[in-house]
Subunit: 213 residues, 2 copies
Amino acid sequence: MKYQKIPEATIRRLSRYSRCLEVMEQAGEEVVSSAQLANRCMVNAAQVRKDLAYFGEFGIRGVGYYVKDLFNDIKKILGSNKEWRMAVIGIGNLGSALLSYKDFLKQNYKIVAAFDIDPPQVIGRVSEKLGKPVEVLHINRLKEVAKERRIEIGLITTPPSEAQAVADLLVEAEVRGILNFAPTQIVVPEGFVAKDVFFTTILDNLAYLLSNN
Amino acid sequence: MKYQKIPEATIRRLSRYSRCLEVMEQAGEEVVSSAQLANRCMVNAAQVRKDLAYFGEFGIRGVGYYVKDLFNDIKKILGSNKEWRMAVIGIGNLGSALLSYKDFLKQNYKIVAAFDIDPPQVIGRVSEKLGKPVEVLHINRLKEVAKERRIEIGLITTPPSEAQAVADLLVEAEVRGILNFAPTQIVVPEGFVAKDVFFTTILDNLAYLLSNN
DNA sequence: CAAATTTTGTGAAAGGAGTCACAAAATTGA
DNA sequence: TCAATTTTGTGACTCCTTTCACAAAATTTG
């Protein structure tokens, strides 16, 4: 396992394999071949093996992969075996949706704080749907609370005009991971990671495919 | 402009260029060079020119691109110049969020219908935030209403267990574009387009980057 | 009006990612 | 125990995407 740059596509696929393996494990399946896994995930069998090869040898020749072990190994690779503590900043519609997104969020991603800027009807409101209730706090408490609750990921759901300012606050609070839902590109310093989720890009993509088929 | 398969990455970047150009146009900028545009979008200048070259010649040598014209041309390419009429199926938290997502949705993507299965507290409820109010209807009216309101894109925000069934309904109703937010892979026949938005994949990606830096 | 400057459009080169094909390793069965 | 079978791990190949580099076209300047 000598070092190589790992393609982002590989990481995305690992996440997919992980989802499949979870289902298989729950279904009581014990062993899976690269061909079977590939089938379920709609990819090439060699692709599955190549992706895994970046990180080591997980299979047994002539047999395949032990579902349970592979599932754990992939989670370890992705870092999704640990619990990630997240904060939502901007409690409008999308922020509220995320706060009660139980069905969509895997158990290891926990929202443990929520912030907004002042609207009195929001501050202090409590979301109880996801395990422990989460109280909405004023944004000026971000730094203090981030430390206290060991927050590692911030979800930005403010209007675009505020997104970069919020990102700066998160950086200051040493929250190293940012997922930005506002339709504006976020910039963060070295050592931090920001991903933009552009809703519009996805729709534009769909529109293009619909227009040209 | 002879035919070539256009990479999906190109389409994603065009959407990005489009967003930048919109801002530039509003700022009153009239001309932009590939280098400037590339800078703003964090890509290579040759990349910008190559991407555009798939579709024709839009620039003037020695000058650059007219912001307004290029913006229009790209919208035409993407099919985002026309109005797209959408329906949300599954009015839980995420569905509700989408219904009032004004800030995040561009003007040409309009939600003109909302469906759910039976919960009486939801059916008949009206979302007014986005221009015209949208009443939540029972899912069994999907086919009829889809035709009536000329719906072209369906947004699936049901629990994962129902997602494929809803997709099948949309196919039956000849809604050709599907954006699926449920964490399960959707399959549609030839001639239809389905995109999955896996929230968890994005978070896994972030977790990986945070764990390995 | 011609030389200098700018910037596009594009062929060629470089770099990555995906697929193929097969040796190596494990198992099964006679 | 050994041949047949299965399936992994991986080098080689192919295909696709990005970057480079430069001729061609337009503008600006003296």
